[in-house]
């Protein structure tokens, strides 16, 4: 990070310090907070006017729980919990203010399973991380596009939503034939369990872009402290740029941060390898979120009325910050 860079923001002395409580996962898809918190960029850019507190989580739904309960103000999070959080609160609780990462989902097959074409998936066992999550929806949509169906829909592909950790064990044991998983699991399946890459999800999307991580903020906080949110976005953008410029140094920092947060290290090599399949970007890739929502709704995961995502994005501040840095705006 720009260690020596001067603080761009002057803070008025009379203003009371606001506390910004930021949630994230100690995981490779949350690169910006890992790096930016560790090297101090966030604290520096937020300045004296805002005190930063961080909380780490293991799962998206618990982030939403915390946001609903008013225990955090902003968080890095995957698209699906963001959607359910928005829908469940009737559009009241949260806004997506930026993207953070794109890509990073792999469909890996076990060599012994002899899967060479989509049709070979018939009568095979495939796992996804969680029923109704991004990868689960993507797999089911992919099956449908290739004329296959999961067992519960009357087809012959067994789709088993199970935790990523179990997937690795089952893959090693040879109990499952394929898995549609996010990073770093895709890389781990390949490196540690001898899996074969069958499909990189990027190949299914225009420009290879689909959103993996968003930055969300609670609607109330955005109303009250737009200035703080703006500075958060600046820190986010700055860190994103730095990571893209210095991937190896960033991987070192991220690995260190993960170890500090969780007490267990994720090797630098694994972080680097996983990031090869990811792109750090502020663009929330809005069309991919919409498409994913539509697929999920069609598969029956989002209730009985078609979800309305009209106000889910609040990108004005992001575009303002991007403009200040001379970067092109993003669209919703």
């Amino acid at each position: 990070g720009g260690e020596g860079a001067a603080s761009g923001q002057a803070v008025s002395g009379r203003q009371q310090a606001v506390t910004l409580r930021l949630g994230y996962f100690p995981n490779v898809t949350h690169a910006q907070p890992l790096v930016g918190l560790e090297d101090g960029t966030y604290a520096r850019v937020l300045g004296d006017g805002a005190k930063l507190e961080t909380k780490t989580f293991n799962s998206g739904p618990s982030v939403i729980e915390a946001l609903f309960a008013g225990a955090i103000d902003a968080a890095y999070i995957g698209p699906n919990p963001a959607i359910t959080g928005y829908v469940q609160s009737g559009g009241k609780a949260l806004r997506i203010i930026s993207g953070a990462a794109s890509g990073g989902a792999l469909f890996v097959v076990r060599p012994g399973a002899n899967i060479n074409a989509p049709a070979d998936l018939a009568k095979k066992k495939v796992t996804t991380p969680q029923i109704g999550n991004t990868q689960d929806v993507a797999l089911r949509a992919y099956l449908a596009a290739n004329g296959l169906k999961s067992r519960e829909d009357g087809g012959n592909v067994t789709v088993l939503p199970t935790s990523n950790a179990n997937t690795l064990t089952l893959f090693q044991k040879g109990d499952i034939d394929a898995a549609w998983v996010p990073e770093p699991w895709g890389t781990r399946l390949i490196q540690e369990a001898g899996g074969k890459l069958f499909l990189d999800e990027r190949d299914l999307w225009p420009n290879g872009d689909f959103v993996t991580t968003n930055l969300i903020v609670s609607a109330g906080f955005l109303d009250k402290h737009p200035d703080v949110v703006e500075r958060l976005l600046k820190a986010h953008i700055e860190t994103t740029q730095w990571i893209n410029a210095n991937p190896d140094a960033a991987a070192q920092i991220a690995s260190k941060r993960i170890e500090a947060d969780t007490g267990a290290a994720l090797s630098v090599a694994l972080v680097t390898a996983s990031w090869k399949n990811l792109r750090m970007t502020s663009d929330p890739v809005a069309p991919s979120l919409r498409k994913s929502t539509d697929d999920a709704f069609a598969l029956g995961f989002l209730g009985t009325t078609k979800p309305d995502l009209k106000d889910i994005y609040a990108l004005d501040l992001l575009n303002k910050a991007l403009a200040e840095k001379g970067l092109p705006p993003v669209s919703r």
Binding site: P61, G90, I131, G132, T162, L170, K173
Partner: protein, 275 residues
């Protein structure tokens, strides 16, 4: 039950107390109590103490309950969970009683196996998930195994302390009539530990039940644990609370049908009051 004439002179508290003298009255009081709890809940909701997406209204939870009952999801989940529980728990009761009475009657076993059992009891159910997957793969057995391990040690421990709390005089009765080791178990140890075991079995059951909820997270294979997780995953508090209510009800029904009776029966024939 109550003479109307008496009623007038009684305070509401006395009326309720009187009601609890009969089984039907107890049920009535309980239902009234539940109604009171629901009323408080509705009040909290109406006062908007918490936003509605963190505390849904009783009405919306009721609606979720009804919808999922009607479309068969809740009955199916309950059926699946209870089946798993029944198997896992039955196995753990059998094995637990065996281990527990063994460790309680042999000092050597107590200071080896017994100590390990004590330690194992503190393992959370999630610790068994990797092993379950490893040994059984993703299937019913794996889930049942988690429920089994969840309650095994607690049953063993309560059996152990149940055996140890048998008055020595009762053992001596068995001994003086020349009971063999097996006869001691059959005629003294097992019946003698019943009062204390009854409570232990009840707690063991809730260990099994809670572990089952954890075990059902192994993979999405129906069951109440999965339904709860689904509610959390979708941040659907109505579904979460509806599932919690179902879990509580199953717990209560189990207790009334099995453990309450067991305990009452054991205490009653010993002349220990159940009041």
């Amino acid at each position: 039950m109550l003479h109307p004439a008496n009623r007038e002179a009684m305070t509401p508290y006395q009326v309720f107390r009187r009601m609890t003298e009969t089984r039907a009255g107890q049920l009535g009081v309980f239902v009234l109590f539940l109604a009171l709890l629901v009323a408080i809940w509705q009040a909290l909701y109406s006062l908007q103490v918490w936003p509605p997406y963190t505390l849904p209204s009783p009405g919306s939870v009721g609606e979720t309950l009804w919808r999922n009952t009607e479309n068969g999801r809740i009955p199916r989940a309950v059926g699946v969970s209870i089946r798993r529980l029944a198997i896992g728990y039955a196995l753990s009761v059998g094995a637990g009683i065996t281990i527990g009475s063994f460790t309680a009657t042999s000092r050597l076993a107590d200071s080896t196996v017994g100590k390990v059992v004590l330690g194992m009891q503190s393992l959370p159910s999630v610790a068994w998930l990797p092993l379950a997957v490893l040994w059984f793969g993703l299937n019913e057995q794996a889930i049942i195994f988690v429920a089994f391990m969840g309650s095994l040690f607690s049953v063993a421990i309560s059996t152990n302390s149940g055996v140890k709390s048998i008055p020595p005089l009762l053992r001596q009765v068995g001994l003086t009539y020349g009971a063999s080791r097996w006869q001691m178990y059959r005629h003294i140890i097992v019946p003698g530990m019943m009062p204390s075991l009854a409570g232990g079995l009840k707690l063991g059951w809730s260990f099994a039940w809670r572990s089952l909820m954890a075990g059902e997270l192994l993979f999405a294979g129906l069951g109440l644990g999965q339904m709860l997780e689904r509610g959390r995953d979708l941040n659907d508090m109505s579904l979460v609370i509806a599932t919690m209510l179902v879990i509580i009800s199953v717990g209560l029904v189990m207790d009334q049908l099995i453990f309450g009776r067991l305990e009452h029966w054991v205490l009653e024939r010993r002349g220990l009051s159940s009041k």
